[in-house]
Symmetry: C2
């Protein structure tokens, strides 16, 4: 991980000055001074307040200029309008890092935006880095350091870092974490991100040795590809879980292709998170449920789970939840079952879930767990502990913990209830064993552990090295022909040829006679397709005619195409393509778009006119990694059925992959190609290749 050294003063300051410290306990400036002082911070703390005086046993300087060494971090909590001049004074004092906690900037409108811009200009000019404005600062429970103004207590020390675009969520998470029994390592509230962004802080936060998992509350990312690169560096070492909000907020863009219509920013985020190895959570609770498991459990080796319970019902619930999460109930080995039977009453269920019955003692829990962990067919274990009728849950917890600590496989606890399990809750939390109130949440945590392990190989993968395409040729073509919007038939064919995207043999014709000649030369039956500028969906307007058997058919077809085009305003008829009818095969869609945030994205799935209805499509960042390309096929029905399905013979999967790589490369090489869409790509029999029966390319307008 590359760490930007200019950020060091934020995370390891030798002296911190609070500008706007106040001795009025109702002011945030008091809270900040109090938190910093009480946090146990080992560096030097300075207070600055125009009025001077004393606060918490320290003098208040009337200006940052008077503050003695050492001081390398300033925290500003003063009215917005005074921030620029104060920043300047900090710069002149030699401070190169400032947290602007004050609000009143971009979030309040144009005036605030100008003020924020001024701050940024000052900072850039003086090589000063800014966190905020409009943020609650940052917090390190181990250093320790607390530059927030939140009411105490702060979070307990722990191993989960939290980076957030929302200050209110920070406040809630700090308070909530305490109730949920997990601590935080570092917390960064990013505010308006005038300078430092979520991407900038990933590596510095991840480099903290106390941090085992990073959790992100994202409202977006500042630079898509930079984020992917930075996150990927981190996930090679530590898991990142992201809650990306604002899913439905993005307005609908005006798009003309199926690919464009289906690509929302959510598809782009999913593709980006997959590439970066970031785990995406759907809710705040899920994010922290998973974070505890990732922070506290050994790595998962697979999806085979054993369930240990003292009652049937919760075992069924657990099985359901595990299978719904893509996990499997482990098949226990015969010796394991035999050994279990030595510890359990005859009526106990020895297959998985192992139901020890209601009387299960702490010793039985511990012995059975040990046996399950020793079974080579078991990758992880869920222990279910409802309030046991005969023993206390606390005693069971005490017996289980040494077994869990000794294991090199993940164990999670479904601890069901509230009051009767409180002692057990406390034991498990202190021992850093993840416990959840119901089996469903425990199952979801185990699935995430497995997912994270599976992702490790993929994160390391580089993009596929494609060869045999002529990038220069396409560059030249686009220089020669400056047409914007949907490209004409000839240049489209030339670009396609340069990237070796296979097209059926055929000819562009400009008259009925030429059409008949062409048909006779490629051989009947033929297909005829309209060639026209500014035409989006050929088949919607009857622009594709198949199975023409005779010269008369061809003549008549040509006339029809001409007539259809004449009816459409703005569409310029350019003739028709005469193509040999392609051999049979499976039809799919392959498309690409340029996402505003993440750049080139490739789409693959079920094509035809119903593509938006079926939504059987998946996206990946372009250029693709082999793993991304495989996932396009594996996560769509269109891709899975290329392997053959019932009477449908297998199709040339490799050829489909090759086209996907080529389309991705083309889109990545030429961001001005706003949309590329092959619909359909006909994937022929194995070994026979694939043919782009129709391809359209749109160039950005502007």
């Amino acid at each position: 991980m590359q760490i930007d050294e200019t950020l060091n003063p934020f995370f390891q300051p030798s002296g911190v000055a609070v500008i706007g410290a106040s001795n009025d306990p109702s002011k945030l400036g008091y809270g900040l001074a109090r938190n910093l002082t009480q946090s146990g911070y080992q560096g030097v703390v300075h207070f600055v307040n125009l009025k001077g005086g004393f606060l918490l046993g320290r003098p208040m300087y009337t200006s940052i200029r008077e503050v003695p060494d050492p001081v390398d971090l300033a925290v500003l909590l003063i009215p917005a309008k005074f921030v620029p001049e104060t920043l300047l004074a900090c710069a002149e004092r030699g401070i190169r890092a400032a947290i602007i906690a004050s609000g009143g900037f971009r979030e309040i409108g144009l005036e605030g935006e100008a003020l924020e811009q001024t701050c940024l200009t000052i900072a850039r000019h003086h090589q000063m880095r800014l966190l905020g404005p409009n943020c609650i600062g940052l917090l390190d429970t181990h250093l320790p350091l607390d530059t927030t103004f939140l009411p105490p207590p702060g979070p307990p020390p722990g191993d989960v870092a939290f980076i957030s675009h929302s200050g209110a969520i920070c406040a809630a998470v700090i308070d909530w974490a305490r109730g949920q029994g997990f601590g935080l390592s570092r917390l960064v509230s990013l505010g308006n991100q005038a300078d430092i962004t979520e991407t900038d802080v990933l590596a510095p936060v991840a480099s903290d040795r106390h941090t085992r998992v990073l959790t992100l509350y994202l409202e977006g990312v500042s630079d898509g590809r930079k984020f992917v690169d930075a996150a990927r560096q981190v996930t090679l070492q530590k898991p990142i879980i992201a809650l990306k909000v604002g899913r439905f907020a993005s307005g609908q863009r005006a798009v003309a292709s199926h690919t464009g219509a289906l690509a929302g920013s959510e598809s782009a985020y999913n593709a980006a998170f997959r590439r970066a190895g970031v785990i995406r959570a759907n809710t705040n609770e899920e994010m922290f449920d998973w974070a505890r498991a990732l922070a506290w459990c050994p790595p998962s080796r697979g999806r085979r789970v054993a369930v240990l319970t003292n009652a049937g019902g919760p075992g069924v619930t657990a099985s359901d939840a595990l299978e719904a999460g893509g996990m499997q109930l482990a098949q226990l080995a015969e010796p394991t079952i035999l050994e279990l039977s030595n510890h359990l009453p005859p009526a106990a269920a020895l297959s998985n879930p192992v139901d020890m019955l209601a009387g299960a003692s702490p010793e039985q829990y511990a012995n059975c767990l040990r046996l399950l962990l020793e079974d080579p067919g078991v990758d992880s274990v869920m222990v279910i502990l409802p309030p046991p009728p005969m023993h206390t849950a606390g005693a069971v917890a005490k017996a289980l913990i040494p077994v869990i600590h000794h294991a090199d496989k993940p164990v999670v606890i479904a601890l069901m209830g509230e009051r009767l399990i409180q002692e057990a809750v406390e034991h498990f939390r202190a021992a850093r064993v993840p416990e959840y109130r119901f089996p469903e949440r425990a199952a979801s945590a185990l699935a995430t552990l497995a997912e994270h392990s599976e992702k490790q190989a993929n994160i390391k993968e580089e993009t596929y090295h494609l060869s045999g395409y002529d990038r220069k040729r396409v560059g030249d073509l686009l220089k020669q022909d400056q047409t914007r919007g949907w490209l004409g038939a000839e240049i489209t064919a030339a670009i396609t040829a340069a990237y070796k995207i296979p097209l059926p043999g055929g000819r562009l014709v400009n008259s009925s006679e030429e059409a008949v000649n062409a048909a006779q030369s490629v051989g009947f039956p033929v297909a005829m397709k309209i060639a026209a500028e500014n035409l989006t969906h050929k088949s919607d307007i009857g622009g594709v005619i198949l199975n023409l058997n005779t010269p008369q058919d061809v003549e008549q077809g040509y006339a029809e195409l001409q007539k259809s085009a004449a009816l459409l305003p703005g569409v310029k008829f350019q003739g028709a393509y005469i193509q040999q009818m392609a051999p049979p095969g499976q039809e799919v869609i392959v498309g690409a778009i340029q996402d505003a945030q993440f750049g080139a994205l490739v789409m693959f799935g079920s094509g035809g006119v119903e593509v938006e209805g079926l939504r059987d499509v998946e996206f990946a960042l372009a250029p693709l990694t082999p793993c991304d390309a495989q996932s396009l096929l594996e996560n769509t029905w269109a891709g899975r059925k290329l392997n053959g399905y019932r009477s449908l013979p297998p199709a040339d999967r490799q050829a489909a992959l090759d086209v996907i790589y080529r389309v991705g490369q083309l889109a990545a090489d030429f961001p001005e190609l706003a949309e590329i869409e092959i619909n359909p790509l006909r994937v022929l029999s194995v070994g026979q290749g694939a043919l782009a029966l129709d391809i359209r390319i749109r160039r950005v307008e502007e």
Copy 2:
């Protein structure tokens, strides 16, 4: 609701005898005696123990025979082997209701099963009703009555009833409810259900005036249609939420049709719950999150939600979660926005979500909530309350509660945090205002309120009255021809005709010559389909040939069909159908199966060979209600696109519905028809009807 009077002693006993009461505090028999005594039960409590003696100030009788009046409910907690004779003694004592809390019955194997059967025989013979065995009994917090042996305290009194197939889940829920701040009204642990089932107790539990919502933990239902009828009677008055577990447990049946392959017991449960108006939860937490909202909020009138927050981040999270749950952000009326602006600082966001900014006071919260509730475009409100930096969450809660109590629209609270919001949590719980830790769960509760209101109209609906079909004729046909398995071509056609399921005109032919004659008489081009017994998927084996244009084509095709059939073991070639090529249209699948639990089910969706791959299908109980039939169309892409989609013209939706009703009626009328499948049904242009291009019917083999 029809209440079975024989169950009254369970819910309103005048005297309860605990058989197996114990004065050893480590025994469950002590716990049971203690709970019953301490529950505040107003009737008479009797203890029975072979050894006699005294317990909790009461005598222990050595036999139920000695117990004086009144006693109409016995609770047995004695070793299983003594249960039958004790039941007999109870019966002779005139007791007609017994709870068998003891384990050691069906759940331990064959021996226990025999014992359980003996108990049932005794009970039936003496008109005695049994709850259990292997259960933890029942509990009514208002009567009050507690016949469980669980460690105290029991649940606080409340308005949510819980009926469970798992005793361990009961114990966990009781303990957990206290921590979550909601009470229970009645709780019934059903155990092995030797006699009384989940269906039996629905009406008695729902008739309790303190119960506002019923929650069910189901491992299955005893009799599918009876459950649907009983649940439907309840949901007309009170909501039922069910957590159905064992989703993946059901083994795969051997099935031959697409419909059979796609119909799992889960499809049947979904169809049954829809008909019965039962809301299906996916997790325990979800069930009780929803139950609190349904118990405490006024009915929802729609899906337009206003969000009131003091911070942007949680507002975005809320918007996401609401839209993901099918809710809409309400468009606030101009006067509402104007009024809000009078109460809020200029930088506040007045569109929905309304962000009052971090300084929002209790009065601002209350005033803005009142304004939002008064807006006619708002159906419900989510109030977001992170720990407010300037005020206490408790003060905000106190200000909000009167406004919420005064409103006739649902209000839920996303109360974010833990320690800093504790006072607010307590205020809201005491005031019966549903609060959740994060906006996601609050959004899910609002969506459930809307769903429940929307379902009310549907629950009242009766099944569609279909006319113009000849049930007697099919009965006769099935009497005459006793063939089992896939029915032959002729009888299939006759059954189809009797139920007026439209087929394309055509003829069955038995020779190549007949085929040519038939083709000439229906007119070229024709389609030819194999007619054969024991053949499942015609098109998989090349059994369908389309677009035959000449007599030569027909001859050749007939020979091919004959050849294909000869290659298939067990398939008996019966000739071919010659049909006119059907007019163009949209193709769908309509099928029916007999579910072991719920009887006839109809399936509708995207057909063709890929039906199992796309899984674009939906199921409903047959015969159908109009609402069920509509939902088949609305919940599938195949159904939605019948309205037309891009270049795809609208199709005859009414004709498709008519076929759905007819297939459902046929399956419901003749349970021996194990599978019926029309694949494809071609739905023609509007007004032109639909044609079953292929129909297959399988009769149960037995």
